[in-house]
Symmetry: C2
Subunit: 237 residues, 2 copies
């Protein structure tokens, strides 16, 4: 992953670390974050538990590694979908949201790990924030491209308090895109909405109410784009 391992010990260390992560990932996928046990990982590795602590400082640190992996995976999926230019802006948006959902459905425990309840007392280390932003960056880039292409109506200036407007402007700047605050607000609304729907779907709050989750999500994703592109309650004639 980084430099070529030189010494035999360095190679062994890299291999061991990779094995730990690989087995931990499979345990996460099967039993969820709650069921991830360092001792079980060590057992599967054919090694005594204390040996694992030579490579991973604590269970929390191992979880952090998995969190970073998960953020990178969903971020990459979203980036690939967003980069696909086929169709108009709406198609790109729906495709990007769909890629996020596809990842979440394929890796529900990973989704729960990063977007579900945070472990109490777990402070996100600095190395997680950058991977975490990848997926949102992909989404906002779709919006920014659509704005540049004139595919988004600004609508009437919204009544947004200054403190909120400043935050929206700071977000826009952080993502280095050109967008009016109104559109940033709508994009954020649609984006958190996407994750709200996903959480409700994956965590069972829609159980019994939805037959075809794929179709349902697609309908909602199109609505979100309409919200971004035309605004909520845009200009009732």
């Amino acid at each position: 992953m980084a430099d070529a391992p030189t010494t035999k010990r360095a190679r062994a260390r890299a291999a061991m670390t990779a094995d730990i992560k690989r087995i931990a990932r499979s345990h996460l996928a099967e039993h969820g974050a709650d069921g991830l046990s360092l001792r079980a990982v060590a057992r599967d590795l054919g090694v005594v538990s204390s040996a694992v602590y030579r490579y991973v400082a604590s269970r929390d640190e191992l979880l952090t590694l998995l969190i970073i992996d998960a953020y990178d995976a969903v971020g990459e999926a979203a980036e690939r979908a967003a980069a696909d230019g086929r169709g108009g802006a709406e198609a790109r948006w729906v495709r990007t949201c769909g890629a996020v959902r596809a990842w979440a459905v394929a890796h529900p425990h990973d989704y729960a790990l990063v977007y579900g309840s945070p472990v109490p007392g777990y402070a996100a280390p600095a190395d997680t924030v950058d991977p975490a932003l990848r997926v949102t960056r992909a989404a906002i880039s779709v919006v920014a491209a659509a704005w540049e292409a004139g595919e988004i109506d600004l609508g009437a200036p919204a009544d947004i308090p200054t403190v909120v407007r400043d935050d929206l402007e700071a977000m826009r700047a952080a993502f280095a895109v050109e967008l009016p605050a109104e559109v940033v607000a709508r994009a954020l609304l649609a984006w958190t909405g996407t994750f709200g729907h996903l959480s409700w779907e994956l965590f069972g709050h829609l159980h019994g109410g939805v037959t075809d989750y794929d179709a349902f999500f697609e309908v909602q994703a199109h609505s979100w784009w309409q919200l971004i592109a035309r605004g909520p309650g845009a200009a009732p004639c």
Copy 2:
């Protein structure tokens, strides 16, 4: 809570059960669901751990009791807010969402327990689904009242696949309200969006981006209502 306890033993049992729940709630509020330990509850109760098992079958069952409590608490808060008729439909909607958020902010661990990652392998017992629906029922009733009062534009018929439309119709029937499928879809969009925003706020995904969470939420809640009442991208002139 139910019948008046007659015998001394029945009274003692009721008191003990209530004490267990009370202490468990305080532990949940302080340490989160992960940190809820039957043994710790027993210790605080001045009783040996096995004694607690006379009243609660397992840790999962205790969590279920807390889940039901949490659903009831947020449901009641939402109902009270929705019942307050001051202002128009938009005011009622924003007030109801605000009540949910106020509860969530005041009891973040309870929120995480019910709307965060579900415990893997935890199948929601039947007694949780009814309390879970209370809060959504409160929200949908606000929408239904607004529709009846003519405060909602239907907009152009949306292009919704039959399978999704059937689900929406079934949801409408389940909540025993009169609403077109289009409006049910928009209400659900707004509702899951509300929880998406809440989860992102409470789980730290907006950390560093938002200064005044109260103001931010209020702006978003108004937008959600506009979405319900006017539709996404309603009739661009």
